[in-house]
Amino acid sequence: MKLGLVIDLDVCVGCHACAVSCKQWNTSGTTGPLTDYQPYGEDPSGVWFNRIRHYEVGDYPHNKTINFPMSCMHCEQADCVDVCPTGASYKREEDGIVLIDQDKCMGCNYCSWACPYGARELDRESGVMKKCTLCVDRIYDENLAEIDRQPSCVITCPANARHFGDFDDPNSNVSQLTRERSGYQLMPELGYKPTNQYLPPRLTRPVPTDDVKKKSLISSIKEWTNKAIAR
């Protein structure tokens, strides 16, 4: 098995719900707590396994906002595991999930240096590295209903922008989505072979503008006046 995520950049609305539900599940899960530093202070910070950034692609008027969630890619060539001197970091053979044994980690940060995707964060409180577990304490839990045996972020996403499945199975939902929507990997040139795939935004028909009436002189003057006068 090669478990991983597909993230649909076409429908992600950038609400950060996946990150919040990830934090909620994992802070009380096997790798928790995900410590917060000064949660009520001026500069609240803390450990997160999932972070969403927002980008502008292209130049106005042909621009688009892209909301970009990122968590561990569970790479096939996981250098973070290779560089770990203690053996705390490991990649499971049965499903490809990259995990950290909290009892073995010495907090040298070396694995985070080897990760190009910023997936690993040191918990300064406990002194050990933490990362996305693909909710390993959830996806195999037979006490949960089958539909709930998915990572917390996937279930939470209100836009259905996240999909979880087995990339080794060509007929799984994630393999089909990747095939049909030209899913791609991030920074493939580094050779980490990340498992997670990103679906690019669908092509949209441009809104025709040739039938828009030209501005009259008077409306141009009004517009200029409105801009020039400070309110």
């Binding site: 950060h16 990150a19 001026e42 500069d43 609240p44 910070s45 450990v47 997160w48 972070r51 969403i52 950034r53 927002h54 980008y55 502008e56 692609v57 292209g58 130049d59 042909h62 906002t65 892209i66 970009f68 990122m70 250098d79 595991v81 290779d82 560089v83 770990c84 001197p85 203690t86 053996g87 705390a88 009892d103 073995k104 980690c105 010495m106 907090g107 040298c108 940060n109 070396y110 985070s112 240096w113 080897a114 990760c115 190009p116 995707y117 910023g118 964060e121 040191l122 300064r124 002194g127 050990v128 990997q185 991030l186 920074m187 040139e189 580094l190 050779g191 980490y192 990103y198 690019p200």
Partner: protein, 312 residues
């Protein structure tokens, strides 16, 4: 990359310590200079002190040092683990060699030769491993080059040689041959460092476009998604002002190479006794410290692309 003082001290001190040991043992075993028991004792102790202080400082930057003993068990894949193994393996050989050589007052026997030879080899491998810890990272293009371990080896040997000249002078030995070797090593290290700095200006690699997959248009960060700093921005976001980088680079060449070469030149010319050798030692540590600071400060991790950097 954030230039952590503990790691800078570790690489500078242990590099010089191993360099000092290697040259001391080679000078002794190959008869490159008059190395008697007293020189071996003081030079050897100083090298072990530098190495040990460095290694202890490297443990100091761990967030969870109680698990440090586990770091010896991933020899097969991790350069950090390899460095730890070779560093520890060096101690019995280095210590026994020094003890034996000191007890026989500098006479070279078969056992001394074997122990010393193995210790020199282990010391070289350890410094190489230190360089490879950084050199193997594909995420930091400024480090991902064979010049990285080359520079670690050359700077370790050069700074160790400058220290050895002072030790020889303080123990009343002839230091001319070692001072000559020191000048040669310093010039070589300066050339390698110069090549590295010029090479670094030609780099190209991942950009914000390949990082996000949008390769046919300009990509700009609108919002990083967090108001305060994160582990990622603290660890990888460090950026020094350009003029500081420039003056540090000047400092590397002035204090790291020019002043020590002049100091050793004074030793060769027989001027000023040990004073110029002492000046050279202080200067070379300042220079190599600045070099190590720059090594980190100029390194740009690719994760910065996700925080808005257009290229690394």
């Amino acid at each position: 990359m954030h230039p952590a003082l503990s790691v800078i001290f570790f690489t500078v001190a242990s590099g010089a310590g191993y360099g000092l040991f290697i040259l001391l043992a080679l000078a002794h075993l190959l008869g490159l200079g008059d190395v008697d028991g007293k020189t071996l004792l003081w030079g050897g102790l100083l090298s072990l002190l530098l190495i040990t202080a460095g290694l202890l400082s490297s443990v100091g930057h761990l967030a969870n040092p109680k698990n440090a003993w586990r770091a010896f068990f991933r020899f097969k894949t991790s350069w950090l683990s390899r460095e730890g193994v070779f560093a520890v393996l060096f101690y019995p050989f280095g210590f026994c060699y020094l003890l034996l050589a000191w007890l026989s007052d500098g006479a070279v026997g078969a056992l001394t030769l074997v122990l010393g030879g193995v210790a020199v080899l282990l010391a070289l491998i350890t410094v190489f491993c230190t360089g490879m810890i950084y050199g193997c990272l594909k995420t930091i293009r400024q480090w991902n080059t064979s010049l990285t371990p080359t520079n670690y080896l050359l700077l370790g040997l050069a700074s160790g040689c400058v220290v050895l000249v002072l030790v020889l002078l303080l123990t009343g030995q002839q230091a001319d041959a070692m001072a000559g070797l020191g000048v040669a090593l310093l010039v070589l290290a300066a050339l390698a460092k110069g090549v590295y700095y010029f090479w670094m200006r030609t780099l190209s690699g991942p950009t914000i476009n390949t990082a996000t997959g949008f390769t046919r248009a300009q990509v700009r960060l609108l919002d990083a998604g967090h108001t305060a700093g994160t582990f990622l921005t603290d660890e990888f976001g460090y950026q020094a002002p350009l003029n500081q980088l420039f003056w540090m680079k000047v400092g590397v060449f002035v204090f790291g190479f020019v002043v020590p070469v002049l100091g050793l030149g004074a030793v060769l010319a027989g001027v000023g006794g040990g004073w110029f050798a002492g000046l050279a030692v202080v200067s070379v540590f300042v220079g190599v410290g600045a070099e190590r600071w720059l090594f980190f400060a100029e390194a740009r991790h690719v994760v910065n692309l996700y925080h808005g950097a257009q290229r690394t």
